[in-house]
Amino acid sequence: MIHETLPSPPTYYEEVERKGYSRREFMAFVTTMAAFMGLENSAIGQVVHALETKSRVPVIWLHFQECTCCSESFIRSSHPIVADILLDKISLDYTETLMAASGVQAEEAMKHTMEKYRGEYILCVEGSVPTGADGVYCMIGGKTSLQILEEAAAGAKAVIAWGSCASNGCVQAARPNPTNATPIHKLLKGIPLIKVPGCPPIGEVMAGVIVHLVTFGKIPELDRLGRPKAFYSKRVHDSCYRRAYYDAGLFVESFDDENAKKGYCLYKVGCKGPSTYNACGVMRWNGGTSFPIQAGHGCIGCSEENFWDNGRFYERASAFAGFGIEANADTLGKAALAATGVGIAAHAIATNVRKHKLIAGKVQEGKISEKEFES
């Protein structure tokens, strides 16, 4: 067989076959992915063709300040081929969490990929980069996160920022941000970068982004904040199955009330769905089983920038940083209104005292005129 003598790496489809998946399963996977990516039916053939003919794209997956929930989410995406083929068997040349190698061998593998596939590999970054104290808060193999990131990004075709840590800093960047955790788009310039925020992002969304990169050889269409439009253009609120209760004005008042049992809208108990752009309401989690709102808990806005500091999770009222934990905009507003009232009363009194002559003169003048009409 001629093919066996050729040194070229296997295509995605060859790997799928090797893993023992049937053609039918492969087609089901492609169709699912195409649907998630928001492609038309006619594009399914394109995706199939791409996966049949394109050889694996090498991936370097770096972990910095994070909890690995992104990786956990990814390997649990609903279709087994996602983890098996895109991640487990084929593409991953270096990832601290899942690779077999360790120590020197692992560093070698990364170096090898970076040299051999310069300009071709995809760099995935999970976690934020601490830049405080010269970066000592997160070091691997004697290098700071920033050094590793910059080296790896230099030869990458594109960078994917997995999760809220890499996209916007997440919890490590919450006030007071002791390690000066920095999202990677602030550290890398001049390289295509896709933000896939969420804590974690939905596994199918992550797979969709990778399949898009593989299929079309370019990054998907992004919104103003650098997120793929296919997954982040709608608010959770807009695709929420409880939306009808919102429009009707029927809300859960507390988590143990009758309204909660009826499944009313969670807006008043702090749901951030109306301010959160994500695909949770459509794709849901754990293979389409459920998502937070369906489980009776409001959205906490985990894919939004700075969601830890922008108000509290269980109320709508806006927290007002710097004025004590209980102060919110309305409390301050009421205080300002009361102060204004007091000021006005004081001013009115002062006017009558200080401008007494002036006012008395006007009153006098008015009375004289009044008299003239009487006579």
């Binding site: 253009s233 807009d238 429009d247 009707a248 004005g249 806005g301 309305d330 002062a350 401008k355 006007k362």
Partner: protein
């Protein structure tokens, strides 16, 4: 002797009252949207649209507010001298001097003399300029939040605003905070209208109805009668 002066032209009066109406509507519905009442209903959600209507009023009023605001800016270039943009934006030393006079007289009450401005005094004009900036902030954040719900090109012009603040959460909070300044403004504004009417007796309150103020004959003989930033 008092002489009749046509101060507020019809477009200015129209702007003022439409603005007052939509501002009340916006604040009332805005509060409702931020913290809706605990409604109880036996009806199916599909048969009710309470929150929907409240939001509809908010958005409709927002459009009126915005275009009314635009019309007023236009009138600041073509209207009479009391409506001119120079009444609002300090571009001369005279303006600042008059502002200081007003502070001394009406705020600190250091002088007992009446002030002679006929339209806005300089301090009031400058305050309106600040409220215009606030109007702009409310329009930017409001339509920015609205953009994601609309297919029309107009709200899309504001889609960059939430991106600037990193998302809708902070944008919404700014929109909410800024609303309080409208409330404080309205309270102080109404008080001061009564105050001026009371101490000056020139028809301050009714001037926004018919457009006229009644000014002492002597005021026409003096030089510094009126407008800050004179031409």
């Amino acid at each position: 002797m008092l002489r009749r002066v046509y101060v507020w032209e019809l477009p200015v009066r129209f702007y003022h009252w439409l603005n007052a109406l939509v501002m009340v509507a916006l604040v009332a519905t805005g509060f409702y949207i931020a913290d809706p009442l605990a409604l109880q209903s036996q009806r199916e959600a599909t048969g009710k649209f309470t929150m929907g209507w409240i939001r509809y009023i908010h958005f409709a009023a927002a459009y009126l507010f915005f275009f009314n605001f635009l019309a007023r800016i236009y009138w600041g270039f073509v209207g009479n001298k009391f409506a001119n943009w120079k009444q609002f934006i300090p571009v001369s030393g005279t303006f600042f001097k008059e502002m200081w006079t007003v502070i001394k007289m009406d705020v600190l009450m250091m002088k007992n003399r009446e002030h002679m401005s006929i339209g806005h005094n300089a301090l009031a004009g400058f305050t309106y300029f600040l409220t215009f900036i606030l109007f702009l902030i409310q329009c930017l954040t409001g339509f920015g939040l609205y953009a994601a719900m609309s297919d029309w090109w107009f709200p899309q012009l504001f889609a960059w605003v939430p991106a600037l603040f990193g998302g809708d959460i902070l944008t919404r909070q700014i929109h909410h905070w800024a609303m309080w300044f409208f409330i404080l403004f309205v309270v102080i504004h109404i008080y001061l209208v009564f105050y001026h009417d009371y101490i000056e007796g020139r028809g301050e309150i009714s001037s926004m109805g018919g457009g006229w103020k009644f000014i002492e004959e002597e005021a026409f003989e003096k030089e510094h009668t009126h407008t800050p930033n004179p031409e």
